[in-house]
């Protein structure tokens, strides 16, 4: 089990830590070396002052060139050394601050993941994102500056003060008299800055939440055309944030202005008092120069101190506001400290358990229940009856408020997360699928338990894929993959399968598949593909470049294709625009036409421009656009127009002519479809098939798949295909999978983990009847006796398979027994079953 850190060495949770506790945390050596360098640098900084004085008083006054060179040399050396050390300090400081920020981000994230589910019901993901990304930057900067900046600058100021007071006590005291005033005024202003910074943090959270909300709900926004509603909400928050930020920035600048003003008062005092003393002969000119120059030099350390003060204030506000927000009591420890996670006996006992919300609603009310190891129990009832809540209490996702619930005689509320995950597997109602491959998702629960390095054998993966019914889908993903890179070695096998497929199944599937046959027009391929009849290797012959390719355009003219295709293009454009004008567009509307969604406006315009024109009257751009449509047209897919027979004949003629011409011009431009050659641009499936499936009837497609599977088994290529399929990328939140596939994947990952106790919360609700029965069969035949099962069930036809049925009503178990017992009782359950029938 991977070690997760959300506490520092002293065992304090991150949300309880003070900001200053980070300064030396893991940085003691760095901070000490920083302090040493600072002492050195402060000492070095005084040197130029002394040198200035000596250059004026000794070298220039006494007209000694050698002294001038010596003092200037020392001056230069001091400046170079100070700059070098300053760079070094900055590097260390950056390291410390970045380390602190990273550590804060990690620990807070670890803390957040373990927070009770209730917290997330009231918290938008955006707030968490904003906290982790934005609000911890300034506190991290503070940690980096915490030793270096005050130490350097306070010491520098003190050193200058001491030097100047020694030089001339009166003038020294006068030039430092402004600082106490500033120390009083600036904190006053800072109070306003802090007030507005707190407001800014709140507004930023709101803004982040709003963004995440509308992006997550983008389907709903676009489907309802609710752009204005969402824009208004968003704009309002942005405006509010802008106002706060303006005020916040003005106060921050005010501090800078005040500070600058006082600093600039310094030379004024020096001139008036120092000048007077110099005239009176009580102060040497060299000393006056040193004072003036010291005033200049005081400016930087003071400015840095002010900046540090602001970072400290802003950092504190951001830090404590963030930590307080997440300071919610963690209900369960992640892992036990002085023992290994329990291997529990898979029996469950619930006694008088109640789950009450803060508002006093009893989601579960005095529930008692015993489940023996290996026993399967179904929880049924109407929605809102508490069956899901009961299941989730068992999985420790909800914390019951009174009564007892034990697994293997251990109280669930006292177990750590590690104990629960070791013994329980949960499939929730709408399982979350992570971005990545099928395999990564399949391994999720397993890897969480056994570590990411421990890879289960392929057999085991295949087994659970079969049990969950995802196997066929994975096979399909494999077949639909386009071979690249390392899979190249399989090409000869695939070519061989192609031969065998046609030999064995060619006649049977001929009806549903259009095989690549150079003598036949392919209805399910585009006209361009029909002419080229091969995979383009040269970019000039890729479909989208054809209308720009002079060679191809000339060829179309020679083959008498230009005019009939132009006419076809015009029909397609007219018809599509007529159907889809004046409606809000959806991707689905563009499946049956070669016009793409983003092109619609262009073609709408084109149609109106050429409305009353003949083909010879249209301009070059219009011609290109219409030809492009016609070349993309595939009569099998785009039911909006038809190709007259003479045109299909012309295209077939053209196919031969094109081949002849291109061979003369550029023999390597196209890889023509040949029975013994792999088509790299096509999927494995299409390569084996050497054709295109034209049927949309699922049962026909199923038959083709069955033939394909038989062939794969025969060629011993089956497992390889599954492996390729498991590398299918599922997309964000698994959105390339159907709802059923997502559920099957979630079931498979729990089966792979093979826990002693399984909790299925309507885990098969998105599956069709057949798949659901299959999963239920696996549960009853394979898992009964092996794993204890608690299943929230909404389809009553599978309830018979369970050892026990508990019927819940308003948070109470009102009936419990075997299926037959409950039916005989003719109570609630009986009624529900009867009503269902």
């Amino acid at each position: 089990m991977a070690l997760i850190k959300e506490k520092d060495k002293s065992g304090i949770s991150i949300v309880k830590r003070s900001l200053t506790s980070w300064i030396f945390d893991g940085n003691v050596k760095l901070q000490i070396s920083l302090a040493m360098i600072i002492l050195l640098i402060v000492a070095i900084r005084v040197v130029p002052l002394e040198m200035q004085k000596r250059i004026v008083n000794e070298a220039i006054n006494l007209r000694k060139i050698d002294l001038l060179f010596t003092y200037c040399g020392i001056y230069l050396a001091a400046v170079v050394l100070a700059s070098g050390l300053k760079l070094f300090i900055n590097i260390i400081q950056t390291r410390i601050s970045q380390k602190a920020t990273a550590e804060m981000r990690k620990q807070l994230y670890h803390h957040v993941l373990n927070m009770p589910l209730g917290f997330f019901r009231n918290t938008q993901p955006g707030t968490v994102v904003n906290s982790l990304i934005n609000e911890l930057t300034i506190p991290g900067n503070f940690v980096g500056m915490a030793v270096a900046v005050p130490l350097t600058n306070v010491l520098t100021l003190l050193a200058f003060a001491a030097y100047l007071i020694v030089l001339n006590p009166l003038l020294g005291i006068v030039s430092f008299s402004i600082y106490p005033v500033m120390l009083y005024v600036i904190p006053l202003l800072q109070k306003f800055v802090n007030r507005d910074n707190k407001k800014r943090v709140n507004a930023s959270r709101k803004l982040s939440s709003k963004i995440v909300e509308s992006i997550s709900g983008i389907h709903e926004v676009q489907a309802n055309g609710a752009f204005e509603i969402e824009n208004n909400k968003y704009d309002k928050i942005v405006d509010h944030l802008m106002k706060i930020r303006i005020k916040w920035s003005i106060y921050k600048f005010a501090i800078k202005v005040v500070s600058n003003f006082f600093i600039n008062l310094g030379p004024f005092l020096i001139f008036i008092i120092g000048g007077y003393l110099a005239i009176k002969g009580q102060l040497g000119l060299g000393a006056l120069v040193a004072f003036l120059s010291a005033q200049e030099k005081l400016y930087d350390p003071w400015k840095e101190l002010i900046e540090f003060y602001q970072v400290y204030q802003d950092g504190s506000v951001n830090y404590y506001k963030t930590m307080n927000y997440f300071d919610v009591k963690i209900e369960h420890e992640l892992a036990p400290t002085n023992r290994d996670p329990y291997e529990l006996e898979a029996s469950i006992n619930v006694e008088n358990m109640t789950l009450e919300t803060e508002e006093g609603v009893k989601l579960l009310n005095d529930v008692s229940l015993n489940i023996a190891p290996g026993e399967h129990i179904a929880l049924v009832g109407f929605s809102g009856s508490g069956k899901s809540s009961l299941a989730l209490c068992m999985a420790q996702l909800y914390k019951y408020t009174s009564g007892h619930a034990t697994i293997g005689n251990q109280e669930i509320s006292k177990l750590t997360k590690a104990d629960i995950t070791k013994n329980i597997g949960l499939v929730s109602q709408s399982p979350f699928i992570f971005d990545g491959t099928i395999k990564e998702n399949l391994m999720y629960s397993y890897a969480a338990l056994y570590g990411e390095e421990d890879d289960p054998e392929l057999d085991k993966l295949v087994h659970v894929l079969q049990q969950s019914g995802l196997f066929v889908d994975v096979l399909r993903f494999g077949l639909n993959a386009i071979v690249e890179g390392s899979a190249e070695e399989f090409i000869p096998v695939i070519i061989k399968m192609r031969e065998n497929f046609q030999k064995e199944f060619g006649d049977t599937v001929g009806e549903w598949v259009e095989f690549f046959d150079e003598k036949q027009f392919l209805s399910y391929a585009s006209i361009a593909d029909n002419i080229i009849f091969g995979a383009p290797i040269s970019v000039d012959f890729k479909n989208h470049n054809l209308v720009k390719n002079q060679f191809f355009l000339k060829f179309m003219g020679d083959a008498d294709l230009t005019r009939p295709l132009l006419s076809l293009g015009k029909i397609i454009a007219d018809q599509t625009v007529d159907i889809l004008k004046n409606i809000t567009h959806d991707k689905m509307f563009f499946e049956s036409t070669p016009i793409r969604l983003e092109e619609f406006e262009k073609y709408e315009e084109l149609v109106s421009e050429i409305k009353n024109k003949n083909l010879h009257q249209i301009n070059n751009q219009q011609t290109t656009n219409l030809l492009e449509l016609a070349l993309r047209f595939s009569p099998g897919k785009h039911r909006i127009a038809i190709i007259p027979e003479f045109l299909t004949n012309l295209i077939l003629e053209g196919r031969y002519m094109f081949r002849e011409k291109i061979r003369q011009k550029d023999p390597h431009a196209i890889a023509f479809f040949k029975n013994d050659q792999y088509i790299h641009s096509q999927t494995i499936f299409n390569n084996i098939l050497f054709g295109i499936v034209k049927t949309t009837n699922p049962s026909d497609q199923e038959k083709i798949n069955q033939f394909m599977v038989a062939l794969l088994i025969g060629e011993d290529f089956f497992e390889k295909m599954i492996e390729i399929g498991m590398n299918f990328k599922v997309g964000t939140e698994g959105n390339k999978l159907s709802g059923g596939q997502r559920q099957k994947l979630a079931i498979a990952r729990t089966f792979l983990k093979s826990p002693q106790i399984m909790i299925l919360d309507e885990a098969t609700s998105a599956l069709d009847n057949k798949s659901q029965k299959r999963v239920q069969n696996v549960l009853s035949r394979y898992w009964k006796g092996k794993s204890t099962l608690i299943a929230v069930v909404h389809r009553l036809d599978i309830v018979k398979e369970y050892d026990k049925v508990a019927f819940l009503k308003a948070g109470k178990i009102v009936e419990m027994g075997t299926y037959d017992e409950l039916m005989a009782k003719e109570g609630y359950f009986y009624e529900l079953v009867y009503e269902h029938k």
Binding site: S523, D586, K694, N697
Partner: protein, 176 residues
């Protein structure tokens, strides 16, 4: 068989135009504006079945409505391993409109008795059109109401004139 070849080539009409003509004649869609009918015709798909193929399965929600273009199909009810033949459908029959509007498990199976071709509309496509023309469901509800009423009248007639007491439980369905 590729339907594009058999319908369109012969009469030189695209499949879309052929679909459009059919949709205009389906009772269920009377009252629906022509722009919406065009979208229906554009979005529906044709599917071919061999004799013996299932067109849809009992207890499954396929979310589709069907119009038989050619061939015949029988409606079958299976209960407790027993199969009941309900009736046979001829070309130009249309059914499943309720499935377009709401999730609904099919209570029967439909099996092609001859090679058949159907025009199939999915719930997803239907809802895309409804997004554009929100009062379509209202128009269709009228047709559905009409149909339920017809069925109810028939039951009442059977109940009253032939003394079919077994129908009593079913009476009142038009009051939903």
């Amino acid at each position: 068989m590729n339907s594009f070849m058999n319908t369109s080539e012969k009469d030189n009409k695209s499949e879309f135009v052929a679909n459009l003509n059919i949709f205009r004649q389906i009772n269920f869609f009377s009252g629906v504006p022509i722009e919406a009918i065009k979208l229906f015709a554009f979005l529906c798909k044709r599917q071919s079945y061999k004799a013996g193929d299932f067109i849809f399965h009992q207890d499954n929600d396929d979310g589709c409505s069907y119009y038989i273009l050619s061939g015949k199909a029988k409606l079958i009810l299976t209960k407790e391993e027993k199969e009941y033949f309900i009736r046979e459908y001829e070309p130009e029959s249309y059914f499943g409109a309720l499935s377009l509007m709401t999730p609904m498990v099919k209570q029967f199976s439909l099996i092609a008795t001859q090679d058949a071709t159907c025009m199939v509309m999915t719930r997803k496509a239907f809802s895309k059109v409804v997004d554009q023309f929100p009062d379509i469901p209202l128009k269709i509800t009228r047709s559905i109401g009409e149909r339920v009423l017809q069925a109810e009248r028939k039951c009442i007639f059977e109940f009253e004139s032939k003394g079919r007491d077994d129908l009593k439980n079913l009476l009142g369905i038009s009051l939903i």
